[in-house]
């Protein structure tokens, strides 16, 4: 794949087809861990790591194990297995090296296992017939798009804390409204085209 192709793939995954705001994948952590920018960034980085490595590993497993033995129908099960193990690994790593981030992420860290964005990227790689480099770049940039969305949304929510809004909208309702506005803003990127 040429550099231009990879660039357009990455830009597409980050802006045009943002995983959270356009494809609506991974909404659980998007709403759950977006109260503070710091934790949102930590979550984004964890997802970035998991998604990049998951893309690489799932590509290899798919090509050299599943397709060789004609087991394409086992993709979902095999991918879930890989993602779950990876998340376990990240959890252990964070507990050892960054206990404060580990505590801040709390329940949402194990929940990356069931984050549909991670499984989504693995399945989309197969669907789009991407090669190894393409899969890794797509996985990384999709996670970068997720991080961008969650950090943007967290900073919006931090400001919402101090804004005056009708009592019935306080807290989660206004967060959902602003999430939809953010999603609409990302629709503006639809016209963007790379030659």
């Amino acid at each position: 794949m040429s550099f231009t192709e990879l660039f357009s793939l990455a830009l597409g995954a980050i802006l045009l087809e943002n995983f959270v705001l356009v494809k609506f994948l991974g909404c659980c952590p998007f709403l759950g861990v977006s109260k503070k920018t710091e934790t949102a960034l930590g979550m984004g980085l964890a997802v970035m790591f998991v998604m990049t490595v998951a893309s690489a590993v799932t590509y290899l497993v798919n090509k050299y194990i599943l397709l060789t033995f004609d087991l394409g129908y086992m993709q979902t099960v095999a991918f879930i297995l890989i993602i779950a193990s990876l998340v376990q690994f990240v959890e252990m790593f964070l507990m050892k090296s960054m206990p404060s981030l580990y505590q801040a992420l709390g329940i949402y860290l194990p929940l990356i296992t069931t984050n549909c964005a991670v499984l989504g990227v693995a399945l989309l790689n197969v669907q789009n017939n991407l090669n190894f480099i393409g899969s890794v770049v797509y996985g990384f940039s999709a996670a970068a798009g997720f991080t961008l969305a969650i950090v943007l949304f967290a900073s919006v929510r931090e400001r919402l804390e101090f804004s005056e809004c009708p009592p019935s909208f306080e807290g989660f309702p206004i967060a959902l409204v602003s999430a939809s506005l953010l999603a609409m803003a990302f629709m503006g990127f639809q016209g963007l085209k790379i030659f």
Binding site: F69, L71, M74, F93
Partner: protein
């Protein structure tokens, strides 16, 4: 051919599972974190109310402080001696018996005290105290809007007859009411202490008589009567030295304003009026 189509996926998935399992087993050794096994045990025996009365953020915060040796085993006032003994058993240390504390309101004004004006604002002591320094004529007394009652997680303090009264058997000495009271009238005192001066006013006698039918006028009769040098009039207010007081009750008998009282008698009165 048919058997192969079953065996192949089973073997492939099984092999992958085994591989990742081994990988995780190895990395769990590498990234092993020493977690004190006493931590979950202590969290288990704590009440789990997360009241924060110990000064740590919730019960798990207190548990980690105990393990770290920063907090004493008997630091949880809510759990009382039983919890302290359990924590001490987990930590493997002896715990000294600490007497239970109970909150006490140092005011009995209520309907005995005059009001300067009709307050019809937010029914909250802090809010009321901001309007012309409170509607109570006495600038020290209990406003009786029940901020402590709302704050208490154990339903142990109630406004009875216009003044907050603690129900000693329900009080867990968490200290939330102590910090909730805008007039700082509530204090935590040992359960064994029975005699209290239920007034906090430093006003001089004549001013006080104007404001309240029950407050301390600083006549020093109690000070003269006490055989244990335990009660003194300081700044127009009788104050008991709880270390010296033996609860003999002579000051209770001699007080002309009947404001030195036995806590046990207040609690039984409160029950009667509540019923």
């Amino acid at each position: 051919m048919y058997t192969l189509s079953i065996v192949a996926p089973v073997v492939a998935l099984g092999a992958m599972g085994l591989f990742f399992g081994l990988l995780l087993a190895v990395s769990s050794k590498i990234f092993h974190v020493e977690q004190d096994e006493r931590l979950p045990q202590i969290t288990e025996v704590l009440p789990g109310a997360n009241c924060g009365g110990c000064g740590y953020p919730g019960c798990s915060g207190f548990a980690s402080a105990v393990v770290a040796g920063e907090a004493p085993c008997n630091g949880c006032a809510v759990g009382g001696p039983e919890t302290a003994a359990k924590i001490a058993a987990i930590m493997g240390v002896e715990v000294s018996a600490q007497d239970r504390k109970v909150a006490h309101v140092n005011c009995r004004g209520g309907h005995n005290a005059k009001r300067k004006f009709e307050y019809e604002g937010i029914q909250d002591c802090l809010a009321a105290s901001k309007v012309g320094s409170g509607d109570l004529a006495c600038s020290y007394g209990c406003l009786g809007y029940g901020t402590c009652e709302k704050a208490c997680p154990y339903d142990a303090i109630h406004v009875v007859g216009g003044v907050a009264v603690v129900q000693a058997d329900k009080c867990r000495a968490c200290g939330i009411c102590v910090s909730a009271c805008p007039r700082h009238l509530i204090s935590l005192v040992s359960e064994k202490q029975d005699v209290f001066v239920s007034c906090s006013s430093h006003d001089r006698g004549p001013v006080l008589r104007e404001n309240c039918n029950i407050g301390c006028i600083g006549c020093t009769l109690c000070q003269k009567t006490c055989k244990h040098d335990a009660i003194h009039v300081v700044d127009n207010l009788a104050v008991i030295d709880y270390d010296k007081c033996v609860n003999c009750g002579e000051c209770v008998a001699v007080c002309p304003r009947k404001l030195i009282v036995r806590a046990s008698s207040i609690t039984s009165e409160t029950r009667q009026s509540a019923l």
